[in-house]
């Protein structure tokens, strides 16, 4: 009971903090009274409402959402598979190392330009989101695989447990926290980088194009409204994805 109360108190405090921040924002906008520089939260809410009624809104959201999440899922899959392979074959690990390190350290803007030359605008956010996610998942999962209990590996050796069962019973539970934390980081970054790529490449019908237009027309209300949409989409998908992943792990462990 006490814990529940504490939790409710925490929520109330946070809600109050948000209300306070919104009030501060509203006050600043009113004091400045320059719609061009700072719109008020009320104006943003009104703009968001009218966006929701536009037919093209959902098409635009879907366009960017599908591409960025496709990039994320591809990066997750490739990163995990490569890490598993690298953990098993050390030659592969050293061969992959320069590529992963390069992808990790090259500024995303360079990749965006490169991918515009290679792929054109429509595949842009898939590729950029993929590139951002790949090294995060790869390095985390590799670390998880390497942190696997040596004694448990010896046991598997003695019992001659084949690779598939080792994966499920031995590696997966060890990698789980690494994979979850990698996904948490990667989900946020894939959105940020994916949208940045769209703003530079301006693919037709993307959220990035709408942000670009907001810049051209100095439409701060549009900018804020679309930004809110991006944050909400990213948070929603993150929650949903992590929930599904935890469910999946729980099923694997109970069987």
């Amino acid at each position: 009971m006490k814990r529940e109360n504490q939790k409710r108190d925490e929520y109330l405090k946070r809600a109050a903090a948000i209300a306070f921040a919104l009030m501060l924002w509203q006050a600043a906008a009113m004091a400045l009274s320059q719609r061009l520089l700072l719109v008020s939260p009320i104006q943003v809410a009104v703009r968001l409402g009218s966006l929701l009624l536009e037919g093209s809104f959902w098409r635009t959201v879907l366009y960017s959402f599908l591409r960025i999440e496709a990039g994320f899922l591809l990066g997750l899959f490739a990163g995990a598979v490569l890490a598993a392979a690298a953990a098993r074959f050390s030659l592969l690990e050293i061969l992959i190392w320069p590529f992963m390190t390069a992808v990790k350290s090259v500024p995303v803007a360079s990749f965006i330009i490169l991918s515009l030359i290679w792929l054109g605008a429509s595949g842009l956010s898939v590729f950029i989101s993929f590139l951002m996610v790949l090294p995060i998942v790869y390095f985390n999962v590799l670390e998880g695989m390497k942190s696997t209990d040596r004694k448990l590996l010896e046991m598997a050796e003695v019992f001659a447990i084949p690779w598939g069962r080792r994966m499920r019973y031995l590696y997966l539970p060890q990698v789980k926290p690494f994979l979850l934390s990698a996904c948490r980081t990667a989900l946020g970054i894939s959105w940020k980088a994916g949208i940045a790529a769209e703003v530079i490449g301006i693919p037709d019908g993307s959220i990035g194009e709408r942000l670009y237009e907001a810049k051209i027309y100095l439409d701060t209300a549009d900018l804020f409204a679309w930004t809110l949409v991006i944050v909400l989409l990213s948070a929603l998908f993150e929650k949903l994805f992590l929930w599904g992943m935890k469910k999946g792990f729980a099923r694997l462990e109970s069987a």
Partner: protein, 202 residues
């Protein structure tokens, strides 16, 4: 009779000899017990026989290929419950019914089977590890202090359980306890410091 032949095994860790010039011949299909105080090289000997370590010199031959073991630690899949632990280690060697039957012979039933092994008591975990080794389709069982952490009555039952399901397999038991050494029958080899072979008893 087929034998496991251990000849002139030497092993040291960081210049500190653990086994020096250890030799023995162990009958295949029988129980052999290595007895001695801790630090006399018993565990190292088992590890060499299991192929988990390379000897500095000396050779081992005749160890059956299919192995199973109870290690000094339980070495379980912590997040999984007991039945899943055995399934994970044994695969098609054992079906779920056989697994449950074996666990119940070790008095692991009901609630104990519903929790991840992480949440089980030390004695229960030990018995899960024991059932895993016994149920595996192996030619040789390595038992390194397998009854540690079990109380008197359970210890006796666990020893009976191993005897009942040995089925002609070679058993190598390591212990520091005389009563445990005698619990499975077989030959006892007394080991002293650095694995000096101090005679045997049948």
């Amino acid at each position: 009779m087929k034998q496991i032949i251990i000849s002139h095994l030497c092993k040291s860790y960081g210049g500190e000899p653990v086994l020096s010039d250890f030799s023995a011949e162990l009958p295949v299909g029988e129980v052999t017990v290595f007895m001695g105080r801790s630090g006399c090289g018993k565990t190292t000997l088992l590890r060499l026989l299991m192929g988990l370590e390379k000897p500095d010199s000396g050779t081992v031959s005749g160890v059956p290929k299919a192995m199973s073991a109870v290690f000094q630690e339980d070495r379980l899949f912590e997040a999984f419950h007991a039945v899943a632990n055995l399934k994970g280690a044994l695969g098609k060697d054992a079906d779920e019914q056989a697994i449950r039957e074996h666990l119940s012979q070790l008095e692991l039933t009901g609630e104990a089977l519903k929790k991840p092994v992480l949440e089980l008591s030390g004695g229960m975990r030990r018995r899960v590890a024991l059932a895993r080794a016994v149920l595996a389709e192996s030619g040789i069982l390595f038992l390194d202090e397998p009854f540690d952490g079990l109380d008197g009555v359970t210890k006796k039952k666990a020893a009976e359980y191993v005897k009942r399901h040995r089925e002609g397999r070679t058993v190598l038991l390591v212990t520091h306890d005389r009563a445990e050494a005698e619990s499975l029958g077989g030959t006892i080899i007394f080991m002293d410091k650095e694995g000096e072979n101090h005679g045997r008893e049948n």
